[in-house]
């Protein structure tokens, strides 16, 4: 997948070696029979080592597509049509499939939403964990088995010998997700991508799994990209958050900034539309009007414009550029430019 379509080698911007993951202006489309679906439309984000980045968005926002593109797992008929991706100082755009395979499972791992469909039902748990170990290391089968037992204990599964011989359908949802995590961590990757890891789980099991992930992060010092639509989950686990809408990162910054000083209307709208369990009296929810955008025909300007209550004329015609509110917190919204513009106007006068 990763042959560079454009002449990015000449125009690629410098990579900041401090960042484990760096994505700059990524554009990715799916060329379907119905037309070009512009799944990613200028996405930029970064993750430092040992940091937890939460990517928040709804269906169609492009959050999973972004994560998959880092691993080179973009499904046909998707194609990278612009931007630069770096992971662990590899330039993903130009890596061959063979090179990517060395990295997957090894330096970067992924766990998916539905553990039942991502675990192979005809192989035992032991087989599937050992597969990853044997693929990327020089261990013998016996050593791999020992390591598999170690991993199961690490993720909190009792009776590891018994479990290694079981098949996925014999385990509960929470256990299967733990097995997924064990497989993902087998080679101690530097980055773990978790794509809606707890959405299909009950709340009490979700709490267990999230606690486990944070524990493991501390123990192994890995970075995590946590993809979810649940703002509560990111509030408790993430250091930084990127909010995506219709294939763009509309706001990004440290967790406290996003929750307490949201800058983008979409972020604000999301925060206001969630009922708060702790509120003392009944306050009517303030929803975001309208429906999610049609990715075959995204609007010319800001993708959120049709649903934005502060939509201005310029929002309909031109996509906004990023404005920095602090060093780490930025957002793409014309309202921020408007403030600056007016300030400029006053200065001149």
């Amino acid at each position: 997948m990763n042959k560079n379509e454009t002449a990015a080698a000449e125009t690629q911007t410098a990579h900041n070696p401090e960042y484990l993951v760096e994505i700059q202006h990524e554009r990715l489309s799916f060329f379907t029979p119905a037309g070009e679906v512009k799944a990613l439309n200028d996405v930029s984000l970064y993750v430092r080592e040992g940091e937890v980045l939460g990517i928040v968005g709804e269906s169609g926002s492009g959050k999973s597509v972004t994560a998959y593109s880092i691993m080179g797992l973009t499904a046909y008929p998707g194609r990278l049509i612009g931007g630069d991706l770096w992971f662990n100082n590899h330039y993903i755009n130009t890596m061959t499939e063979k090179q990517m395979r060395k990295i997957r499972g090894n330096e970067v791992s992924i766990i998916f939403q539905d553990p039942m469909t991502s675990l192979n039902p005809v192989y035992t748990i032991g087989d599937q964990i050992r597969e990853v170990i044997l693929l990327h290391t020089n261990k013998t089968k016996q050593q791999a088995n020992d390591r598999a037992r170690e991993l199961l204990s690490l993720v909190g599964i009792n009776e590891p010998d018994k479990r290694l011989k079981q098949y996925p359908h014999e385990l509960s949802g929470g256990m299967r997700q733990r097995v997924m995590i064990a497989i993902a961590l087998a080679c101690e990757p530097k980055l773990l991508i978790a794509d809606e890891p707890t959405t299909a789980l009950d709340v009490t099991i979700q709490a267990q799994i999230l606690e486990l992930m944070m524990d493991l992060k501390k123990k192994l010092g890995m970075a995590i990209i946590l993809i979810t639509h649940d703002l509560g989950v990111v509030a408790g686990t993430c250091d930084r958050i990127a909010v995506m809408y219709a294939g763009k990162v509309v706001e990004s910054g440290p967790t406290d900034d996003i929750f307490y000083h949201p800058a983008h209307e979409y972020t604000k709208g999301l925060l206001q539309s969630i009922p708060n369990l702790n509120e003392q009296e009944h306050k009517r929810l303030i929803p975001i009007e309208g429906s999610p955008v049609d990715m075959l025909n995204p609007p010319a300007g800001c993708p959120f414009a049709p649903r934005c209550r502060s939509c201005m004329k310029i929002c309909l015609n031109r996509p906004p550029e990023y404005t920095h509110l602090t060093d780490a917190h930025f957002s793409a919204c014309w309202l921020l430019d408007k403030a600056k513009f007016e300030a400029q106007g006053e200065e001149k006068n």
Partner: protein, 347 residues
């Protein structure tokens, strides 16, 4: 993550005015409505094989139903002295007429052993075969779908009993039953045909009536099984539960929700049943169990043609080719329909 140039000259104050509701809504376009049928037809049109088959079917239909009205010869008309003519030749008498200046329509496929124009006989044969195929398939569709949907919907003991009856019916030898029925019905049918309004029985023939009766008794079981399995799956759908919650009774649910969602399967199965019925009828006619003479059917024409296969091969070739063509084109079209009616709609 570049900072925007605050001194950009491309902005002006008006840009920052709030957008009106209309301007916002203009960005929200509703895609043109596409119903299940349009989508299926679109897919069908793209399928070249299915389209060619459809054209062939239409041509055969015209051949069988339209052209005979304009054809100068009748299927039972025996022309003296014009026996066993090869295609596109004239008898001595006809040649004489042409020399005298009269216009005699050529025998495109020659004539048979009784001097009847073969082309019109093949056309009528096709008409009979097609009619039998279509009517038989219609009977199968109605009986099979009702039986299958009732068994599938009610389940439990009803389903059990109904399906065991189906199993028993499967074991009955159909050809044997047809033969027995024809013998059994001959006398009563003859008596009935004497009564006013029932003359058509003589034209159609007891055999053919027996065939239809047997189709109605035996051949619907395949359709019933298919419909039952579809209904078993569909009745778990949440929209069926929703209909029950609204107070819909069983017949409404079966009619409006279950059968309508099977329509693709029903159409395809029926379309594929037609060549099967035609083949059965041809086979029976070939054995002499089909339409009453002088009414031709492709099978009986082929059977008669078999006798003179060495000297007059066209007598066998024409009906045999036509049977093959009809069956093949219906099969291919049915396959194309099946592909077009893929139940998963794109979202």
């Amino acid at each position: 993550m570049t900072k925007k140039n605050p001194l950009s000259l491309q902005l002006n104050v008006d840009d920052f005015l709030p957008a009106t509701e209309d301007e916002r809504q203009s960005l929200v376009q509703l895609r043109p409505s596409v119903s299940f049928w349009k989508d299926a037809m679109r897919r069908l049109r793209k399928n070249k094989v299915a389209m060619v088959s459809l054209v062939i079917i239409l041509v055969v239909m015209i051949f069988a139903f339209v052209i005979p009205s304009f054809y100068p010869y009748q299927y039972e008309q025996q022309i003296k002295g014009a026996v066993y003519l090869s295609p596109m030749t004239y008898s001595v008498d006809e040649q004489a007429k042409i020399d005298a200046g009269e216009h005699v329509f050529p025998h495109i496929l020659g004539t048979d052993n009784l001097g009847r124009d073969y082309a019109i006989r093949v056309m009528m044969g096709s008409r009979i075969s097609l009619l039998v195929g279509i009517i038989a398939s219609a009977i199968i569709l109605v009986i099979g779908s009702i039986y299958g949907s009732v068994a599938g919907y009610f389940g439990g003991l009803t389903d059990l009993i109904m399906m065991r009856i189906v199993d028993i019916i499967y074991t009955v030898p159909d050809i044997l039953l047809i033969v027995l029925l024809s013998f059994a019905l001959r006398a009563p049918m003859d008596a009935l045909s004497a009564k006013p309004g029932f003359q058509w029985i003589q034209t159609v023939g007891v055999n053919l009536i027996s065939i239809f009766i047997v189709f109605a008794l035996l051949y619907w079981v395949g359709m019933a099984r298919i419909v039952r399995s579809q209904v078993l799956t569909l009745k778990q759908s949440e929209y069926v539960t929703a209909a029950r919650a609204l107070g819909a009774n069983s017949s409404r649910i079966i009619k409006h929700h279950l059968l309508t969602n099977c329509i693709g399967t029903l159409i395809v199965t029926t379309t594929l049943q037609i060549p099967s019925s035609i083949f059965t009828e041809s086979f029976l006619s070939f054995l002499g169990m089909g339409v009453a003479i002088p009414m031709p059917s492709l099978g009986s024409l082929a059977s008669d043609g078999l006798n003179g296969i060495n000297s007059y091969p066209y007598l066998l070739l024409a009906p045999a080719l036509l049977i093959s063509l009809i069956i093949l084109s219906f099969n291919l079209f049915g396959d194309g329909l099946r592909d077009a009616f893929d139940p998963k709609m794109k979202s």
